[in-house]
């Protein structure tokens, strides 16, 4: 059973992480190529605190707040540049994070941090907690989408200028999306740390940022069910892909390309097209 438990925990963490990016990219339309940085902040915070004797549950809120704080700072900085540049600045923040962590002996440097203490919840308990938090993030996402915040996000994603003319304080909303999304990424990072019991700077690099963005886009940008399914699938895909061994990443990259080329709305868009009656609001933007 441990294998299944481990896989489900992996999935839950990936879904949490992908949903956190979905708030920023899917709901608010801001492309981030450095989202793994915020998972990294949370992961390192949890690792350092855990090694200092904090219990796992106490590290969660700290990871959340720290990552969210950094998210606001990055968000403030990003607001200065034009929308086209945002993807690149967030990518730059990612490289800076990895570069700095690698150089800090107090953060384990190149060697990373291992022997992270046990979470003390048992494998099943840990999985249950990860699932619970994952469900909470999903519920929060659905709630946000239904609230006025979600409506404004949706408007910003489609047309910032019009939202400005409607009296919306666009920068503040973008900051709010950044703060929420990065804080939740930080929380997923704490789970990541305690799940893998080993973290290194490269675990939160550019490749991971791209991977999580792929999950969001693959599922259907902005679609909560789509992103959940995509993140759950793609996070364990490498394990299934063992069958095709050598061709794993080729297929992965190819899938990403084919999906964008033929169904840019992701799986949600595909579902909306295949079953036109089922309504997937906003998920299947043409």
């Amino acid at each position: 059973m441990n294998y299944e438990i481990s896989l489900i925990t992996t999935m839950a963490i990936a879904v949490m992480f992908a949903l956190s990016l979905n708030l920023i990219t899917g709901f608010c339309g801001q492309i981030s190529l450095g989202h793994a940085t915020f998972q990294g902040i949370g992961a390192y915070a949890a690792a350092m605190l855990g090694k200092a004797g904090w219990p796992f549950l106490a590290t969660l809120p700290v990871s959340l707040v720290l990552a969210g704080l950094l998210g606001v700072i990055v968000g403030l900085a990003s607001l200065r540049v034009r929308a086209d540049f945002l993807a690149i600045t967030t990518m730059g923040v990612g490289f800076l994070f990895v570069g700095i962590v690698r150089q800090q002996d107090s953060l384990g440097g190149e060697l990373g941090i291992s022997s992270i203490p046990d979470h003390g919840l048992g494998n099943v308990g840990f999985m249950a907690l990860a699932l619970l938090m994952c469900a909470s993030v999903a519920a929060l996402s659905v709630y946000i989408k239904r609230s006025w915040m979600g409506r404004v996000f949706n408007g910003i994603a489609e047309d910032e200028d019009t939202m400005r003319v409607l009296g919306i304080d666009v920068p503040r909303y973008k900051l709010a999306a950044f703060a929420l999304g990065t804080a939740l990424a930080g929380m997923s990072g704490a789970f990541y740390t305690y799940h893998l019991t080993f973290i290194g700077a490269d675990s939160f690099g550019f490749v991971e940022s791209i991977t999580v963005l792929s999950m969001v886009v693959f599922g259907g940008i902005g679609s909560v069910p789509g992103v959940i399914i995509a993140a759950a699938l793609l996070s364990v895909l490498p394990a299934w892909f063992q069958v095709i061994g050598d061709y794993k990443l080729l297929v992965y990259g190819g899938l990403l390309f084919v999906m964008m080329r033929f169904s840019p709305g992701g799986m949600a868009g595909l579902a909306a097209r295949l079953f036109p009656t089922s309504s997937l609001p906003n998920g299947g933007k043409p």
Partner: protein, 287 residues
């Protein structure tokens, strides 16, 4: 003089950056796509260069074929991948491009092997002693010279020939250009061809400088070139050139004097972020 040598080394690296980033700038200027898969054409150029040179013994031929193959590869990418996505939000093309890049890197690994390939008889390895303790490989000198001349020729073509002017017009106002009878498709094809050929050309240079081509050789250029076109102010050819050379020099000094604070990639992006905070439109953009 260490400083002079570091500047020279920075310019060598910067020349390579410039060749790769120029293609990206052309594509961005024309289509507003962040064309990550561009770096796959750079890798393709490197492999073709090594294969052709090892088979034929002619370096000139290998440059020519590498540039041609990469050029046509670029046009094919545009026609098959990007053209149908032009009306979609920009992230669609970006992700498609990332997917294409990952798949290409893997295809190179599966076809040519993970170990990479080398020239059996690497050319241009002769050494030039320039005095003051300066000493360079012939290839290092030629990469700077050829970059400068190619970019010079391109600038001339762009300013003086009909098709060059058409390209510029298309960048600044596609609709207007179209109404003057310029074929958008043709201009886009040409831009992709030229940009990709430059990347292929750069690939052969890097193969020569390192005597190694690997499946992953495009991964650093793929993101570094993005940083460069942003620094250069997006879609400005002179800006891109200046940003590429500047970044090369900054990295050269940075790796020596900041090496124990930040690594090379982090230095490049720290510089990028610092610049954007002061000049949000990029270093060389007209605001």
């Amino acid at each position: 003089m260490l400083a002079i040598e570091l500047v020279a080394q920075g310019l060598i690296q910067g020349s390579i950056y410039a060749l790769v980033a120029l293609g990206l700038t052309l594509v961005y200027g024309l289509l507003r796509i962040l064309h990550v898969a561009h770096a796959a054409l750079f890798t393709l150029g490197g492999y073709i260069g090594v294969l052709v040179c090892n088979a034929s013994g002619s370096l000139a031929l290998s440059f020519l074929i590498a540039a041609l193959v990469a050029g046509f590869g670029g046009v094919a990418m545009f026609r098959l991948a990007y053209q149908p996505l032009l009306s979609k939000p920009p992230y669609v093309a970006l992700i498609a491009s990332i997917g294409l890049f990952i798949a290409s890197e893997e295809a190179f690994r599966i076809i040519f092997g993970a170990q990479g390939m080398s020239f059996t008889n690497p050319a241009l390895q002769q050494q030039f002693v320039l005095g003051w303790g300066l000493q360079f490989k012939l290839a290092e000198i030629l990469v700077m010279v050829s970059t400068a001349s190619i970019i010079g020729v391109l600038a001339w073509l762009q300013a003086r020939t009909r098709i060059g002017i058409a390209c510029q017009a298309t960048v600044s106002d596609p609709q207007m250009a179209q109404s003057f009878g310029i074929s958008l498709l043709k201009v886009r094809d040409i831009n992709f061809f030229v940009g990709s050929a430059l990347a292929g050309f750069a690939g052969v240079w890097v193969a020569l400088l390192n005597n190694l081509v690997e499946p992953t050789m495009g991964s650093v250029p793929s993101y570094k070139a993005l940083a460069i076109i942003v620094l250069g102010g997006l879609s400005s050819v002179p800006g891109t050139l200046a940003a590429a050379l500047l970044l090369g020099v900054i990295e050269a000094f940075g790796t020596i004097y900041l090496g124990d604070i930040l690594d090379r990639n982090a230095i490049a992006f720290a510089f990028l972020i610092a610049v954007l905070m002061v000049r949000p439109q990029g270093l060389f953009a007209r605001s």
